[in-house]
């Protein structure tokens, strides 16, 4: 039985994924994924290490050979923020990075990610704090005015106190710019507070449904316990 993350009408979806599978060097990385994503929502992707979360992102970006179908329901422009970037050794300033494609209003670009001190433009990327770097990467991804944002663990390298403000900022960007956000995280609190839907992975889907269900102990057991693939969506938001 084919089931979807949401059962709303067709034109509410921005992404439909059906029977998606990825094999790399004969190893199954993702198997039999079916889900839909509603426009203007935040989908959190959760799962243990090696569950295939980053591969799912790379597959959505069409960087990985796959079977099954990935159907973006309108012309999407995707902004992507990878988990790891190699900037420590590159003498590139924030100004140069943000204007790498040219034609960017730098002040506005920084304002969008709540960086108000313009002196950061002259700093080297490698000298930024974890939080500043993440914000600059998000600002760069937003420069193209995307309607979908893929964030792979957007608070990697960020201290705990600075995590929450980044998610608050992302929430505000989602509201004001009508962006659909996909984010990979390990933080259950973030899922509860900032995501609309949750997709739990362990090569196959182990849970998909409204994000607040993560609070239920049986759902947590379902996600973190022995892998049991699911085909049905739980509840509806």
């Amino acid at each position: 039985m084919k089931t979807w993350l949401t059962m709303a009408e067709e034109n509410n979806y921005i992404l439909k994924v059906s029977d998606l599978a990825v094999k790399i060097q004969n190893q199954t990385i993702l198997d039999h994924l079916n889900f839909n994503v509603k426009k203007g929502t935040t989908l959190a992707i959760l799962g243990p290490n090696g569950a295939g979360k980053t591969v799912l992102f790379r597959t959505l970006l069409n960087l990985v050979p796959h079977t099954g179908s990935i159907e973006w329901t309108e012309k999407v422009k995707i902004g992507y923020v990878p988990q790891y970037v190699a900037v420590s050794d590159i003498p590139m300033s924030v100004r140069e990075f943000l204007s790498i494609d040219g034609g960017v209003d730098l002040e506005n670009s920084l304002k969008r990610v709540r960086l108000t001190d313009l002196s950061i433009l002259n700093k080297r990327l490698g000298t930024l704090s974890g939080g500043q770097l993440r914000r600059v990467l998000i600002a760069w991804a937003l420069n193209d005015n995307p309607n979908v944002l893929l964030l792979d663990e957007p608070t990697t390298g960020v201290d705990m106190d600075s995590e929450e403000p980044i998610y608050l900022m992302l929430n505000s960007i989602k509201e004001t710019q009508k962006i659909t956000i996909f984010l990979i995280t390990h933080n259950i609190h973030i899922v509860q507070e900032y995501a609309d839907y949750l997709l739990a992975l362990n090569k196959c889907l182990t849970f998909c449904g409204p994000a607040e269900e993560i609070a239920k102990p049986d759902i947590q057991r379902q996600i973190y316990g022995e892998t049991v693939c699911v085909e049905t969506m739980r509840g509806e938001k």
């Binding site: 790379r58 970006l61 960087l63 995707i78 992507y80 990878p82 790891y84 970037v85 190699a86 900037v87 050794d89 590159i90 003498p91 590139m92 300033s93 100004r95 140069e96 790498i100 494609d101 002259n122 080297r124 000298t127």
Partner: protein, 262 residues
């Protein structure tokens, strides 16, 4: 100043700029030794030129081009790192070159350490044209290469064909290495790709300054080395290396005192 010295200095100016500029990317890609090792691959080509009595530079170009394609293709197929593949290729090339030139020690020394007496107006013209073309083409792909260094996935998601861009870059490095060989020889030409760039890195807080300083230090090391070699009657390769190392040492001191890149 003799004609030959003028040809050598003009060649050194252009080789210095292009090697410094292209080398700035090679150092960031953590492929510094790739430039060095790639230069040795030219040796069998030079040897064949000497043996069969045609311009050794043509042989060097041919071998560097062929090697760049083989290395690029092997890397894509096997996923073995560029460094390892070039390491294997360069030792093979060095062994072949030494076997081919084994009896001709003078030609071997010229090939290894450079000889400005061999620089003709044709060589100079080739160096000027190739340097300008390599700099312009690298400028076009510079942004793509830097983005791919930051994150290959990020670059591909922006529609950049990283594999094709890397191949073009490898070709351009091969060209610059080939024209640099006549000035500093196959053994030392890698120096011109690495040292100006690491010296520039000591003084640069942004990419623009970094690439410009790399080119300037490349010219300074090459020209100073040629003039010293001419004045002291020494082979140019070692003189270029000494000039460059002096520049590098000065930049280390400046960075240490002024903390420019921290």
């Amino acid at each position: 100043m003799s004609e030959i010295v003028v040809y050598s200095v003009v060649t050194a100016v252009f080789v210095g700029i292009s090697a410094g500029y292209l080398g700035s990317l090679m150092v960031l890609e953590k492929m510094a030794l790739v430039g060095d090792a790639l230069s040795h691959v030219a040796l069998p080509g030079l040897a064949i030129g000497v043996l069969f009595n045609f311009d050794p530079l043509v042989g060097a170009f041919a071998f560097l081009f062929a090697s760049a394609i083989i290395i690029w293709h092997l890397q894509r197929v096997t996923k073995i790192s560029f460094e390892a593949l070039i390491g294997a290729m360069f030792t093979f090339a060095l062994a072949s070159g030494i076997l081919l030139l084994g009896d001709d020690l003078e030609a071997l020394e010229e090939a290894l350490f450079g000889d400005i007496a061999q620089v003709t107006i044709w060589h100079m013209g080739t160096a000027v044209i190739i340097s300008i073309a390599a700099i312009l083409l690298t400028k076009v792909i510079y942004r793509k290469l830097v983005l791919a260094m930051i994150s290959e996935d990020l670059a591909i998601s922006k529609g950049i064909n990283v594999a094709r861009t890397n191949l073009l870059y490898l070709f351009l490095v091969s060209l610059v290495v080939a024209i640099g060989i006549q000035i500093v020889g196959t053994l030392l030409v890698g120096f011109l790709v690495i040292v100006p760039a690491i010296a520039a890195k000591n003084l640069s807080g942004n990419m623009r300054r970094y690439s410009v300083y790399s080119a300037i230090f490349g010219v300074a090391a090459a020209v100073l080395g040629i003039l010293l070699a001419n004045y002291l009657g020494q082979p140019p390769g070692p003189m270029v290396v000494f000039s460059g190392i002096t520049i590098f040492a000065v930049t280390v001191l400046v960075n240490w005192r002024l903390k420019l890149t921290r």
